[in-house]
Symmetry: D2
Subunit: 273 residues, 4 copies
Amino acid sequence: MAIGRETIENMLKLSNPKWKTSVTRVEPNRIITRGYPQEDIIGNLSFPEMVYLLIKGEIPSKNESNMLEAILISFCDHSVTPPSTQAARLMASAGSPMHACVSGGLLAFGKNHAGAIERAMKTFQEGIKRSKDNIETVALEIINKSLEKGNKIPGFGHRYHTEDPRAPKLIELAKKCGCSGIHTELALTIQSILLEKKGIRMNIDGANGAILSDMGFDWSIGTGVFMIGRLPAIIAHVHEEKTREEPFRKLFDIEEIYYDGVDEKKSIDKKEK
Amino acid sequence: MAIGRETIENMLKLSNPKWKTSVTRVEPNRIITRGYPQEDIIGNLSFPEMVYLLIKGEIPSKNESNMLEAILISFCDHSVTPPSTQAARLMASAGSPMHACVSGGLLAFGKNHAGAIERAMKTFQEGIKRSKDNIETVALEIINKSLEKGNKIPGFGHRYHTEDPRAPKLIELAKKCGCSGIHTELALTIQSILLEKKGIRMNIDGANGAILSDMGFDWSIGTGVFMIGRLPAIIAHVHEEKTREEPFRKLFDIEEIYYDGVDEKKSIDKKEK
Amino acid sequence: MAIGRETIENMLKLSNPKWKTSVTRVEPNRIITRGYPQEDIIGNLSFPEMVYLLIKGEIPSKNESNMLEAILISFCDHSVTPPSTQAARLMASAGSPMHACVSGGLLAFGKNHAGAIERAMKTFQEGIKRSKDNIETVALEIINKSLEKGNKIPGFGHRYHTEDPRAPKLIELAKKCGCSGIHTELALTIQSILLEKKGIRMNIDGANGAILSDMGFDWSIGTGVFMIGRLPAIIAHVHEEKTREEPFRKLFDIEEIYYDGVDEKKSIDKKEK
Amino acid sequence: MAIGRETIENMLKLSNPKWKTSVTRVEPNRIITRGYPQEDIIGNLSFPEMVYLLIKGEIPSKNESNMLEAILISFCDHSVTPPSTQAARLMASAGSPMHACVSGGLLAFGKNHAGAIERAMKTFQEGIKRSKDNIETVALEIINKSLEKGNKIPGFGHRYHTEDPRAPKLIELAKKCGCSGIHTELALTIQSILLEKKGIRMNIDGANGAILSDMGFDWSIGTGVFMIGRLPAIIAHVHEEKTREEPFRKLFDIEEIYYDGVDEKKSIDKKEK
């Protein structure tokens, strides 16, 4: 039996779900990303321009590119204090290969570690959506709502630094690059109220979250930007662990563990039911 | 244009690479694993029988099943001393969801942490392949080769225990279940030489590696068996971290980090070239 | 200067945050889990008893243990249809080691894939908390609330099966083991309404979620139980991929990708600003 | 009892293993990476300069920085053909959060997928160590050794492209930037022999592997550089999946699975022993 091409194509459409993407078209000897052949991109775009192109689909202006570069670099490293770096080094010490250690490090980017930037962006973006006209009212609403619930305001305060040295530098650059707008204004207003009331300053997540919001990034991409900035350091730490430390080292000694479960039992008790 | 069904099917065969599997057949309202409908398996097989069926394709004898159950349970937990448990709890503290914390824990099953059982199995299996007749010669070869290279013999000695309490219990059960054979004999021979020479005893990996080898498991499945046995504890630890500890706690204090890189620089030096 | 031991110990307490756990106490040559020395547990507890002990801190009754064993086994495998199995096999094909492939598989246990059991448990547990007396009212509330929002009711319906063969078998066993209570009653009530109205039946997540709730498991542990049950199959699939397939195989052909992004551009356009 | 401070410090040294790092020093309000305060780095270093500084400990020359930027960008994306991108999108479809999807993507960077660059670098670096004087002899040795074993030569040939458009562009830039040396010469020599004999050309891994070797990067860091370059695309793909596709979509239809295990069995057969 012969059947029509159209029928077949419809059958295929139903039974063969396809991958669909707008990022890159691959053909034999042709790789075109967001409309640009990769051989034209290589050597002509900077890394932050590439990041912007991949995520937002267009090439940024020079100022936007400089700002994004500064943001990425500001996330570069915080030594072995974050759980992500610790986890990556634990895995390296356990003998996992580089790619698995890096994956493990990024797995620790949970909401308590890397979530602050997204929460800060969401707070700023929702605040500005509520009102563009009265920034001070919005700032007070955000602060009071958090204080009532006993929550920290995402993007303000830091467990190691009373004055995070990265934040003012980023704000300064944002102004210089013309990337500072209403979200940054909101963040600065929150800071001046908090500083007076509680002595608390903006941290790196607050600064970057505000600037990225002013650059038009949706809050859901915040952790992604953080990961791009931090990845080289995780690789450097895994490399350092693999080349400078002995394998499977005793990072925690047995004495540091405090057992607070039940006392030793004399025999196996199975529940009767 | 009309084209023949057969032509189309041949085209599809070429252009649509298929997944192939011998583990489970899925049809609407029918799920058949290794030949058995799952509604017959549920309630009729024990968990170790299921593990054996999935990995080896057949249902084990009662003795093999009992032995595999004891092996799985012997891996149950070693508190927060292993990097896998530490990594999983770090991720839980960082706010990652349960499935990501568990994945992160297993990512730390690198060759230095979980690799000992596979190396022990490989050592025993290759030793027995070289000679079944003179176990003592094989044992001495294995020991001497390791001592020459300054390596530990996988499956012997433990960083916390001089006498790993799990190993003799497992060997005793293997004998009772008829699961102890020539590989276990080799492991015991190595132990008696090492004990006399160095005061070193078999550990859990040596015991389980020998018994699994006698049960016909290839060494490449060793880490897999360890993971099945350890998974419930990783889940219990993640649950404990999430329910009993405050989020993002300071597991490492800043004082515990020793920086040994270059001193602070006054200005940015770019290389000239 | 000499300082007192107590002072030192207090200093240490402050500056050295400790790990705390109630799961296992480790001392040289002694490993005590939930109060039981591991050498007593090995050979005396079944795997489901161990799972129960680790997660809930006590040894279950024989009936509870049998029920938990059936639940774990019911999750055993669903061939290569789930994203977790596909992801694990992709990584195996890419040449990652066993432990990384397994981790990758579990990483796909996101809310759309493995979340149904936790959502089902939460729905049942919250429903019963609202009212124990009028199950039918609670069932109708749950159904109507979902229908209004256009949501599926978690634990009912299946993308491959109109009658999930595992669900009735599990319910039957729960009754036999005395593990079926008010949550199971609620699930069955929802099913009979849905079946009449929509022809939709309970699936494996609905059945296990109801039974686990009746056994006193909090909904937050649901994905954990699923992972324990599924892990052996993921290992079997990774092993099958590594031993039966050629490396880096073309699971997706280039023809199956549909690019729907912008057309090729002639030159690099940077935004002016 | 009073004890001396020195004794205490020695005790602590033994019982409290510390983290040690040369990457970054963190003090309150001071973060110094590789000797540079981060507030000086932000806005003054480009992203590739930062990557170089983190991994190699010094700031590169302008030419080295431009070359590294081109290398990073050349890895930007290859659509949904690689297992890493597929795995990340599968996890996104399964409902895992961004950081878990990205981790899962990188987990697929196994030796068959991302290993080629490290193998290429190792081949070039070991070849040049054997002899710097006769590149042609080294090239022939490498080719013949691979052909004898039936192996591919890492860095040459591509499953989608007969002429990888990225490779010649990278080589051209390396010459322009003065980053092309003896390793690149070796790679080009291998290419001209292979092209004549087999019609096979250098691919992106061959080009980048040779240039990175000439820039003094050890082969063990190759996958790390690839991951930094690819990460933004993985984030873009996860974002695309989460925002443009429906959740848990049927990427594989049930018809595409071929079951080739045992036939259905009538009853549960347990082995007798």
